[in-house]
């Protein structure tokens, strides 16, 4: 197998969806899927093509809906997640869009090819079902967060989640791997950008968060968690 082929298999091997499969089985699946290296900030979903699904091998993708002024982030997807299974939210006039947040390796597949994989390997479908259930729970958590009275608690709770899921160690704490503006954060917790701005100043003064090279750093996760639960 070529170097490119080996890398393809390596990535698939490290995704939960295929974790219980043999090397030969993973190699077989690798041949059915098309790899693409996508830089950050690229929109992925082509709404003219309803037959395509996507699997994140490396990087991160944001699912969102709404125009530039009213964009709502629906999910931040780490490696191992599949998307493209739904193209709309609720009513047909709310389409879902997907944009890379980091340099990402994304696998494109047509739905018939994925159905072929599922038919041959029912365990993969079982794992995908599990992954979808996780996504439902995650969105329910985001929805429940909107019910918190305190904007500070909402933001603290979100920052803990982002740090746990997408953080990398830095000298002063855990740095979130991609850039998020205050407007992005505001729309994820249902408050105004001004409220996020004020709250970030408070959390920064307390020494719990900071910005380094344009990215958020969580310095005291435990303190943020306590703030979220108070």
């Amino acid at each position: 197998m070529s170097d490119g082929g080996n890398r393809k298999v390596w990535y698939l091997r490290h995704i939960d969806l295929f974790a219980s499969m043999t090397d030969e089985e993973v190699e077989e699946i690798a041949h059915l899927l098309d790899d693409h290296h996508i830089p950050p900030g690229v929109a992925l979903l082509d709404h003219r093509d309803h037959d395509r699904v996507y699997l994140i091998k490396e990087g991160a993708v944001r699912l969102h809906t709404g125009g530039p002024e009213h964009q709502v982030t629906l999910a931040l997807l780490p490696p191992g997640r599949m998307f493209g299974l739904s193209s709309t939210v609720g009513d047909a006039d709310r389409t879902i869009n997907a944009t890379t947040l980091l340099p990402s390796y994304i696998c494109f597949a047509t739905w018939p090819k994925m159905a072929e994989v599922f038919a041959r390997y029912p365990e993969v479908m079982f794992q995908l079902t599990r992954s979808l259930a996780e996504q439902v729970f995650r969105t329910e958590t985001w929805l429940a967060r909107l019910g918190m009275i305190s904007p500070t608690a909402r933001l603290a709770d979100l920052l803990v989640e982002l740090s746990d899921e997408f953080g990398e160690p830095s000298e002063t704490g855990r740095r979130i791997r991609f850039r998020l503006t205050q407007a992005d954060l505001a729309r994820m917790i249902g408050v105004s950008r001004e409220t996020v701005s004020r709250t970030m100043v408070e959390l920064g003064r307390a020494g719990w968060v900071a910005r380094e090279s344009g990215r958020l750093v969580v310095r005291d996760r435990d303190a943020l968690k306590m703030q979220a639960n108070s």
Partner: protein, 229 residues
């Protein structure tokens, strides 16, 4: 439970008689009265639950103990998804909004049934995609003003009716479920006075119909009209 009774559930609709017989030996039917809590966060999770009849509200509590509705599940819908993730306790709570009849598939039986019947997994995936769609929509709507949230909730309840799914249209559709202002306030996460004002606004816009204080009808679709708030 008789195998053929299971056929009316979408999850089992395409199974062979032999597979249905296998499922019938492991599922447990349960009935709940209106207002009963089916399970709460942290309760032991023995398997996934499928709603046979009735309407269930899923919710979570914030640290301030406020309830947030995270889903409305109708007949054929899946609950207790924690079992699919191999978890031993529930992540959300569920309440019967009317008389509810469910079947529970034990966690141990899930994987075996899934391996034996690929259609079951496919149907489970479809059910999950529907849930994901609904919770995504709920998240978007939750950031709107209360009248919009209320209208969305009433339409969700109305759409649980099969006739509404066939004729969504812009005419008034009857609501089978009677919800008081206090219940609506709890479902949407606000107070009763705010609900009363919002319902008056929606009625003035001819988007809902009321009788003796209860909402009796809702217009299901108004794509060319935004709800004024």
């Amino acid at each position: 439970m008789r195998p053929l009774e299971l056929r009316r559930i979408p999850l089992f609709a395409t199974m062979t008689p032999a597979d249905l017989a296998a499922v019938a030996t492991v599922v447990e039917p349960v009935n709940y009265q209106r207002g009963t809590v089916l399970f709460g966060v942290g309760d032991p999770c023995a398997g996934i639950s499928v709603v046979l009849d009735g309407i269930v509200r899923l919710f979570r509590r914030t640290p301030e103990r406020r309830e947030v509705t995270t889903g409305i599940v109708r007949a054929g819908g899946l609950m207790a998804l924690c079992a699919l993730c191999g978890e031993a306790t529930h992540r959300d709570s569920a309440e019967a909004l009317n008389h509810v009849h469910t079947v529970e598939i034990p966690t141990a039986a899930l994987h075996v049934l899934g391996q034996r019947c690929p259609h079951l997994q496919e149907q489970a995936m479809r059910g999950l995609l529907e849930r994901l769609d609904a919770v995504n929509a709920a998240f978007v709507i939750a950031q709107e003003q209360i009248p919009v949230q209320l209208l969305y909730l009433l339409r969700s309840v109305a759409r649980l009716d099969q006739a509404a799914q066939r004729h969504p249209g812009d005419t008034m559709h009857p609501l089978a479920l009677r919800l008081s202002h206090a219940e609506l306030a709890r479902l949407v996460g606000t107070d009763r006075a705010t609900v009363t004002r919002a319902l008056r606004l929606l009625e003035e816009q001819r988007l809902i119909q009321r009788k003796r204080g209860h909402v009796t009808g809702v217009v299901l679709s108004t794509p060319d009209r935004k709800v004024p708030v």
